[in-house]
Amino acid sequence: MRPFKPTFIFEVLPQILPYTLVTLGIMLGTVFFGGLLGLLLAAGKLKGGRILRGLASAYTYFIRCVPSIVMLFIIYYGLPELLLSFGININNANKAVFVITTFTFMFGASMSEVFRSAYLAIDPGQSEAGLSIGLSRWQTFRRIILPQASAVALPNFTNALVNLMKEGTLAYTIGLIDIMGKGQLIIGLNHGSYALETYIAMFVVYWVLTLLIEAVSKRLEKHLLRGLRPHEEAVSKEKSVSKEKSVSEKILYPIYETGILNKLKQSNGFFDVSMGKARSAGSKPGETENDQNRFQRTQEDNSWKLN
């Protein structure tokens, strides 16, 4: 077995890195077209009649069940044939066209859900309030609804975007040269050797990209939530902190419990010891004043309860 060569990872990285632009370009194109499709689908689900709503939901359901690779190949083999029957020849088109088309269909479905949930998350009172102070419909949407809805949509959008990037790696199977495609080419050029090192380099690139996307999204979310009044922010922070606390309390409960129990046991022990001493110094239990008092008190309590 050929020994593992970690330095090769650093040799491959600079060769792969430029192709990040291809991956990002594909993502950008998909986000644009997929976003438009998602908007249409979300509008259909929210405002459409029975038929439109049904169609949009059916589409989302259908796409949810289809593996990306199957969709990719159907588009790759099917789209040119389909367009050829209309007299359009795209057999020589760039591979990116097929990839973007495929993932537009996939991404559009998830975006429709993102848009829909964001729209539904905003209280109708917000737009009513906007209209009541004399803003136009567009102004209300642009200044009141959109900033709030985008803050709600952002985490879901980020999730969909990361998913898109990960699924997008399948594009290499139809011969697109992005990060994954370039890595596969390098492995091919080396006749299959240094495959592990190349894969690790690709892991690094994708992982860093994901972390970057998530970091940017987090910053953006903070920016979008800046409209929250300070006390609201404080309240939400407090809530999250108290929630966090209760969680750790819940999980650490066994430790708390044993601690409390130990303390209780110790104190009980202490109490018993002192009582025992009192008894040994005096005589049998029940004869000391303390015990008699206690006995009477319990009797009184019980009689009170019985009556």
């Binding site: 044939e81 479905a109 879901n156 990960k166 790696t169 592990l196 894969y199 892991f203 994901t210």
Partner: protein
């Protein structure tokens, strides 16, 4: 554009024989992943710095990198490493390459699913109110009893929609098992298609089968959800209703988060 229906029917029949493999992949992976993911979720919730760091790193890695890459990496790493271990460390003449490649598929899909499910279980455990544990302890149950009888059953019901989503995406991901030379639906249909270059028809057949399987899985999970969440329907106090409402909201939002 012409679609050969006769070929599609033949491919459909061939691909049907791949369904057991796909289901086996999904089922065995879930069987391996669910207990491990559950313990991982518990491990992350305990405020132990090192263990939760390691688990966090693992989850971040699996969720931050494409599954195709994971498949390719482990499929090129595992067989040669195992072979090396058997030949040079254990000094046996055992032939690792004779193993069914489905073992590697189980490994990769489990590694992936454990990470996803551990997050699912973690959020599910967090949805169960801390008061539930306190109540159970106050009536004299041990911590173990409280967990097994009170917390975990509720957490599992809360987790069910997300487990369903994970199962669906796992089912879809098994279509990549052909890269590990596992003969599942996709592989069989592709082989059929290669003979006469009927790729469109073959992929349409695969698509139909996946939609069918996915529908069955979702119906099963909906049935399980309905029969397991009976206890929620008895709740009458407003505070309890609010709790079940929060549960359903959490489930709905995380369903959306999973996306397509």
């Amino acid at each position: 554009m012409e679609i050969e229906l006769g070929f599609m029917w033949e491919t459909f029949l061939v691909a049907l024989s791949g369904i057991p493999v796909t289901l086996k992949l999904t089922f065995v992976t879930l069987l391996i992943s669910i207990p491990l993911a559950f313990f991982m979720a518990l491990g992350k919730l305990v405020d132990h710095k090192v263990s939760s760091r390691i688990i966090g790193l693992y989850v971040s890695f699996v969720r931050g990198t494409p599954i195709v890459l994971q498949i390719l990496f482990f499929y090129s790493l595992l067989p040669t490493t195992l072979n090396y271990i058997f030949k040079n460390v254990l000094h046996t003449e055992y032939n690792v390459f004779a193993w069914n490649p489905i073992i590697y598929a189980y490994t990769v899909f489990s590694l992936n699913t454990i990470a996803v499910l551990s997050e699912v279980f973690r959020s599910a455990l967090l949805t169960v109110n801390a008061g539930q544990l306190e109540a159970a302890m106050s009536i004299g149950e041990t911590k173990f009893q409280a967990y097994t009888r009170i917390i975990i059953p509720q957490a599992l019901v809360a987790a069910l929609p997300n487990v369903g989503n994970t199962t669906v995406s796992l089912l879809k991901n098994t279509s990549l098992a052909y890269m590990m030379t596992v003969k599942d639906i996709t592989a069989l249909a592709k082989i059929e298609a290669a003979i006469g270059y009927n790729y469109i028809e073959a992929y349409l057949v695969i698509l139909m089968i996946y939609v069918l399987l996915c529908t069955v899985v979702q119906l099963l999970f909906r049935f399980a959800e309905n029969s397991l969440s009976v206890y929620k329907k008895r709740l009458t106090k407003p505070s309890d209703r609010r709790f079940s409402y929060i549960l359903s909201r959490v489930a709905a939002v995380s369903t959306l988060l999973r996306g397509v």
